[in-house]
């Protein structure tokens, strides 16, 4: 199978996402007073309503309506003042009423959008933007200095209830195939769920990944969900089809499920694009079907073939009156909107002089941006000087640590914002080298000590004194006449060798900047 970059030369992928988020921060279910709790004993949070017992009626959770309106306002949607619930009829044991209460043609939130800043390696998946100068636009995309911004439409965000959870017994890995029987846990049944549907505006797996990531940041910022992709409180399905570069029609799409991490979302879509290209290039046909991404086998497999569109017999839910929201109520919700990630990034650029890239990556996690802000408060009049190194520490070292260790909790970590400021100041004032800085970073976390204490203990002072360094540089040059000769013949890469030798002599404490300067001066003389 061809690689994604190769496939995208000939084919354009058309991707739309459907993203479900459980409103886990609410106390109770969508239509009854049962408690929302993950991991409770099966069927302990149930009542006649969420069990769909005969005669039970739904009563809407007003806090859930507020949550979805917050989500809509945070994603630039129009809030529909008049909307209704509908019944989506299908029979399956995880849905006790055998219909799901959802919304019809008019959802609470309609016609929104998010702008995605795509840069770095991820921007290279868009091969059709070559030659576009910063500021120039093509379709929904505007080029920037180091990538582009994609304007992605949101069709709607609607409210619905989640189903219960089925556990299949006796089959392989809990799958239904080969199972002898199934169990149902209705604790999750009736959990308020919002589903966001994008326009088919996404063109690369990277854009899809960034959309999901940005939406997750927004939902976390407005506090409507814990957005755990692993526990399934935020889930993403992708619709993908291909068309030849230059054509405008739409190909047959497949629906992709089980992309329960950002990596799986990217890799699943990338695989499916390559698979479809191969089928089409071999003269085959794409069938409208639901496919399952298997991350361990790194391929997608057919779950269900849709020969005809499902007929859910949607009709207005007669047990729930139409919802009429007033302008005052909507304004009240708007007033509760916190600072959103984009606004925060803009503030960081303006107040702390961070680059757009640094600011954007800093706000990816609330933990890192909170950490950064506390550090800036403590830095006082040094804030503008230390902003960039502190941001780098947060984006690179801290984020790497968080990614490597799931249990790492920045808020409870020995590396407090105060210690971080101390550390970046040591580096900024050339007291220690940035390499030593990495060692101190790890030691602070492991030993729970102040950076200055670690520096003292380990004798890790950086030597920036020119005369001391000059002596070492002279000695190294004198000891390596062959290398000096080759350098002078034009092999300038050998500068690295000389720096290494100087560092070795100085037990890693020499200021690399000064060493470089002095070496260059003397070798080029």
């Amino acid at each position: 199978m061809k690689k994604l970059e190769e496939v995208l030369q000939d084919w354009e992928a058309v991707i739309g996402l459907e993203i479900h988020a459980e409103l886990t921060t609410l106390n109770t279910k969508m239509f009854c007073g049962c408690k929302l709790e993950f991991g409770a004993d099966p069927n302990t949070h149930t009542c006649p309503i969420c069990l769909g017992l005969p005669g039970a009626l739904p009563v809407p959770n007003k806090a859930a309506i507020e949550s979805i309106v917050l989500a809509g306002l945070a994603t630039n949607c129009d809030i529909e003042k008049h909307s209704m619930f509908y019944r989506k009829n299908y029979m399956y044991p995880d849905m006790a009423k055998n219909f799901q209460t959802t919304q019809g043609p008019v959802a609470f939130c309609m016609r929104g959008h998010l702008d995605l800043e795509v840069d770095g390696a991820g921007a290279k998946e868009r091969i059709d933007l070559d030659g576009l100068k910063p500021g120039e636009s093509q379709g929904n995309v505007t080029a920037t200095e180091d990538g582009y911004v994609a304007h992605v439409g949101i069709t709607r965000i609607h409210m619905e209830e989640d189903a219960g959870k089925m556990v299949h017994i006796g089959g392989d890995e809990g799958r239904i195939a080969g199972a002898t029987h199934s169990l149902v846990d209705y604790n999750r049944a009736g959990t308020p769920l919002i589903e966001l549907v994008t326009e088919p505006d996404l063109r690369t797996p990277e854009e899809a990944r960034l959309f999901m990531q940005k939406l997750r940041q927004i939902y976390l910022a407005i506090g409507i969900s814990d957005c755990s992709m692993e526990e399934g409180s935020m889930r993403c399905d992708g619709n993908v089809s291909l068309r030849r570069r230059g054509s405008t029609g739409l190909g047959v799409k497949t629906e992709l499920k089980n992309m329960n991490s950002f990596k799986n979302l990217h890799d699943g879509l990338a695989y499916e694009i390559c698979r479809q290209a191969q089928v089409l290039e071999e003269g085959g046909q794409i069938y409208q079907e639901t496919r399952h991404w298997d991350p361990s086998a790194k391929r997608t497999i057919v779950m269900r073939v849709k020969e005809t569109a499902d007929d859910y017999r949607l009709f207005p839910e007669p047990d729930l009156a139409p919802y009429d929201l007033t302008d005052e109520w909507i304004d009240g919700v708007r007033a509760k909107l916190p600072e959103l990630p984009d606004q925060k990034a803009a503030r960081y650029q303006k107040c702390f002089g961070l680059s757009a890239y640094d600011a954007r990556h800093l706000v990816e996690h609330r933990a890192t941006s909170n950490f950064f802000e506390k550090g800036m408060e403590l830095a006082g009049d040094k804030a503008s000087k230390l902003a960039k190194p502190l941001a780098n520490l947060a984006i690179n070292d801290i984020t790497a640590r968080m990614n490597a260790d799931e249990s790492f909790n920045l808020a409870e970590c020995p590396l407090t914002p105060a210690r971080a400021i101390e550390l970046v100041e040591l580096i900024a004032t050339d007291a220690i080298s940035s390499k030593q800085g990495k060692e101190v970073f790890a030691a602070v976390i492991d030993e729970d000590k102040d950076p200055s204490a670690i520096v003292d203990e380990r004798g890790m002072k950086q030597v920036s004194d020119t005369s001391a360094i000059e002596a070492v540089v002279d000695a190294v040059i004198a000891a390596n006449p062959d290398e000096v000769a080759r350098y002078k013949e034009g092999n300038t890469k050998l500068i690295g060798f000389f720096v290494g030798q100087c560092m070795k002599e100085m037990r890693g404490q020499g200021n690399p900047k000064v060493i470089n300067q002095l070496l260059a001066k003397k070798l080029n003389a």
């Binding site: 769909g52 949607l314 009709f315």
Partner: protein
């Protein structure tokens, strides 16, 4: 005077207060009558003796403590409930094999309110399966008979609720009305039956047929008894978000008279092709009786009323299809054994668990909601609904209550109407009220001159002005008297 089955709510209250009898004696006498007479009528599906005697003990204690006055408007009154109403610990079968063994884990609000108001719960009452029918013949547990003529149907779907009151086996019962299921059996059994405005009474705990049409209401032999029951059950329920905050005093409305009240008569109804002469004659007399009592009679038009049956047989089955989907054999209810996969278990269980009329409505609803069909039926039916609602609103600018026949004819014989469409047409005067959401009640207005069977006249109120129809109903009762127990079941028959 000792308790007897003729007594109305006020008589029972007075008797208890005077110490003529105890609540326990009321309960004992009631069960004695049921045990001796219900074999002929088959109104009851289950008796709730433990609950009845427990309630009677509470009432007798209140009498002894002098706190009886604090009890509600139905204190000591023998009551019973249609079997689509959940009452914790009882079977709630909806007269279907599907729910033959289903025991309610909770209690419907209307049942709870009736018992809170002091009613002595006697049991659960037969009905058409899932309330689909107009004769109680579709009950999986055998039909209920009309106490006026045991060869005739009591009407339906709340046939057990009507027949039990007509036979003097209960004083007040609750039924539900989706297209006429309270008013038509009340007319057939010669008693009072009330379908309140949609939203007056909570539907929580009442097994749904057509959620946008269903409404709970009382049966009684007198208008004032029905008013007492309405005072007990109406009002907002946080568990039913379609129920409304209403302030009403139905017992007070009964004393207001009809002086100056405008009664609307619909020529289209009075000249309907299926309306029998005997019913037309009695309804016309009732109109005159109200005029003599001081009301003004005006003609009003309901131009779209003819379309009500068509809209009803679209909207009702659509909602029923969806409401009945939960009866799938998985969690409760009838389950056909021996099926290895889910699909065949669903099919076999639903094929055996549901009767013909239920299947007909489910299939109809499933078809009407399917894509491509929905636009042709469901949507226009909703538009018709709007037109009919507007018709009523316009009519009520000219009148305070509308008077119409309840049913085009008196009670028919078992098996007499085999064609389901003809059966559906017996709802012709009642369904438009459910479509528009208004209140309606049937009040007895004498016996038909041809059949000698009870005739009912229907009073239809503007939305949430249900007190209007009680004013007119009380005025009619002043002329016709309260309904008697059906002659063959007169008090004393059970050896009282």
């Amino acid at each position: 005077m000792a308790y007897n089955a003729n007594m109305n709510v006020a008589d029972i209250r007075a008797g208890l207060l005077a110490g003529d009898f105890t609540a326990r004696e009321v309960a004992e006498a009631s069960f004695k009558r049921i045990e001796e007479l219900d074999g002929e009528v088959h109104a009851f599906l289950e008796l709730t003796k433990d609950a009845a005697f427990e309630q009677a003990a509470k009432i007798d204690e209140a009498l002894a403590n002098g706190t009886f006055d604090e009890m509600g408007p139905l204190a000591g009154v023998p009551v019973a409930f249609k079997d689509n109403m959940n009452y914790e610990g009882t079977h709630t079968t909806c007269s279907s094999l599907m729910l033959e063994n289903y025991v309610s884990p909770y209690t419907a609000t209307c049942v709870a309110k009736t018992i809170e108001a002091g009613g002595i719960p006697l049991g659960k009452l037969n009905m058409d399966e899932f309330a689909f029918g107009s004769s109680t013949e579709t009950s999986a547990f055998g039909p209920t008979k009309n106490p006026w003529d045991l060869e005739r149907v009591p009407g339906g779907s709340s046939g057990g609720s009507a027949a039990s009151v007509a036979a003097g086996l209960a004083c007040v019962t609750l039924g539900s009305d989706t297209g006429g299921s309270i008013r038509q059996p009340a007319a057939f059994c010669g008693i009072v039956g009330v379908k309140p405005t949609y939203g007056m009474v909570s539907r929580y705990g009442v097994v749904a047929f057509g959620s946008s049409l269903d409404q709970v209401g009382p049966f009684a032999r007198s208008v004032r008894d029905a008013a007492a029951a309405m005072d007990a059950i109406c009002g907002h329920d946080p568990m039913d978000c379609t129920s409304q905050y209403v302030k009403a005093d139905f017992r007070a409305a009964c004393e207001q008279g009809v002086e100056g009240m405008r009664i609307g008569v619909v020529p289209g109804f009075m000249n309907a092709p299926g309306l029998t002469d005997e019913v037309k004659a009695r309804v016309s007399e009732a109109t005159e009786a109200l005029r003599e009592a001081g009301a003004e009679i005006v003609e009003v038009e309901l131009p779209h009323a003819d379309a009500a049956i068509s809209a009803y047989y679209v909207l009702g089955p659509c909602e029923a299809f969806s409401n009945l989907a939960r009866f799938d054999s998985v969690r409760y209810g009838y389950c056909a054994e021996g099926h290895k996969d889910l699909g065949s278990q669903y099919e076999a269980s639903r094929a055996a668990g549901f009767g013909m009329e239920a299947k007909r409505r489910i299939m109809l609803g499933s078809y009407l909601l399917s894509s491509g069909v929905y636009e042709k039926y469901y949507y226009p039916a909703q538009q018709v609904r709007t037109l009919i609602t507007q018709d009523y609103q316009a009519a009520y600018e000219k009148c305070d209550v509308i008077l119409a026949p309840t049913s085009p004819r008196t009670a028919f014989k078992f098996g007499e109407i085999g064609d389901p469409v003809e059966m559906h047409l017996s709802d012709i005067f009642t369904v438009s009220i459910n479509i528009a959401g208004n209140g309606g009640m049937s009040v007895p207005c004498g016996l038909g001159s041809d059949t000698g069977l009870p005739v009912g006249v229907q009073l239809i109120a503007p939305q949430f002005k249900d007190e209007n129809m009680f004013r007119a109903a009380a005025a009619l009762e002043a002329v016709y008297g309260a309904a008697p127990i059906a002659p063959d079941f007169a008090a004393g028959k059970a050896g009282e």
